[in-house]
Amino acid sequence: MARFLARRLVLLAAVLLAVTFCGFAAMNLLGDPLVNVVGVLAELDCEAIAAGTAQDTAVDAAGSDCDTVAAAKAQYHLDRAVPTRYLLWLGDMLTGDFGTSFQNDQPVSAVLREKLPETLMLLVMAQIVSVGIAVPWGVIAAYRANRAFDRGSTVASFGLLAVPNFALGVVLLYLLALRWQIFPSAYESGDFASRVFSLVLPAFTLGLPLAAGYQRLLRTDLITTLQEDYVHMARAKGLPPMRIMFRHALRPSLFSVVTVFGVSTGTLIGGSLVVEQIFGIPGIGREIVTAVVRDDFPVVLAIVMVVAITFVVINFLVDLLYSWLDPRVRTR
């Protein structure tokens, strides 16, 4: 187990480095970061101006703009090569310094601290909704396998899995918030209860398709488990069916659901970015969209990194959890 753990930790470190480097390189190489900091000033040929050989005399030759450019270059280490810049940035990030937002000179870490809790709350609620729906749904479907309910639920889950989450979100918003006005149509930032209440619809938007996926996995595994000898034994002893289901069959049937938990978290995070947009939730999803529109790259990069790192770490933990549940995985 120790060797297995060590190997996994090395892999985790390698992936984290690769992921952060790819993200950083994409942000720095696909666009010109200098343009994003100083705008049109980036086109100034400051070396030529300093040497007095500038061809284009229309630009400001006084040197003050060039000072701005030089200051920006120094501040964001833009005069260094990308790998060096990456290391400097990585060092800063590890100490909790994500840089400064171009927009309002607020430190990015403060932005994250403000926006992350809303998104986290949404993700947790979405998982609660999906598991809360999937477990009873899967149990009933497996208990009455291939009967009317099961067939109907197969069709329903196929349909739910095909709905794009933004489509589901728009429809739920229209029906439940605008038409029947059961839920608030805009996010209400107040006490905890009203925040939870305004996150109900978004959580269902994210959680329903996920529940359909979990349900299909759980149903298949449960049907297999229900064929096991010890289940027949329990039934022969005369235990009530629901007691067999929840006390004997459910736990060993949860493997598949645990496995996809990590992957589904990635889907959920992606989905939450979109769903926050629809329901106006002030989380990191809205923040990243605003930041992209305003070319606020420190914020975009920080959010992308936080999300990607979280995803990698969750998958790592699920991997460990899985190998703990099923020791055969370790030898692979």
Partner: protein, 330 residues
Amino acid sequence: MKHADSTGTAADAGSSLTGADNADGAHNADNAGSASAGSPTGAGSADSGGNADGVLRRRLGTGFWLAVGWLMVMALMALFAPLLPLADPTQVAFGGPREAPSADAWFGTDALGRNVFSRTMHGARISLAVGGFAIVFGMVIGGGLGILAGYFRGLLDQAVRFAFFVLLSFPALVLAILITATLERSLLVVSLTIGILAVAPVGLLARACTLVFAEREFVAAARVMGARHGRIILRELLPNVVIPMGALTLLGMALAVVAEGSLAFLGLSVAGEDSISWGKMIVDGAGLRDLQNAAHVTMFPVSVMFVTVLALNFAGDRIRQRFDVKELAF
């Protein structure tokens, strides 16, 4: 092709659900099984032509052909939208703002008085083009890398697998944001971005299949006869690996169409007023005031997109079952 399943979990969820199909008789299942596992060129022609066709139709079912029919209509719309007698989709004040559906504008008009029906039909162009292009890109790059990695093994395999692993370590939408945020968002860039998302899953499938087929006798025979690597890969392995990959094309397209819509919600779909996509239309009509007063502006594109994605999923799932390819975790 048991190895094609990367998670090893969802394996038979699909096939066990369709009990009705299994009732058709075991020999059909055997047919499909041997066709996908053995050499595909032989198995197809071994059955007499008419019989094979009948087997195909019985197994795929009416639903499959309904789905394909809808997809054909959408594809034709996308291809010929500019030639059809549709209103100009960009014409502002075709009717009054937010008019309900009428004989003139079947899907009503949006906030700027533009014809929603015409826009939906034109929107199919970008949505389907992005979907199609993305999956082709994923297959060419991912499939190519996967086959090479699976065939040559060793260091190349390690490197490719690590690259795929890193790609999969980003939540898909976040990776897409990363690429599109800094670039000009042309049709090509958006398609390429979504295509990159498909590279790793398709590549892992291609690699897994290649590993299986590279062990088979016909590859060994080709090698003994002195075939070069290039010939073995192109003539022996590729035709076998393309089948499971191709069986997942429609499922991949469904994901790509949805991905375009998600990007649109983040303001990162194809830029420009003139480029209409379903995603962008849904976003346009999803503001609270539009939704309150004229839900049709967004509900029509939502419905068309949903039916299209459903059709892609349904047809794709049937094809996947027919070729006995296990579900893939995208």
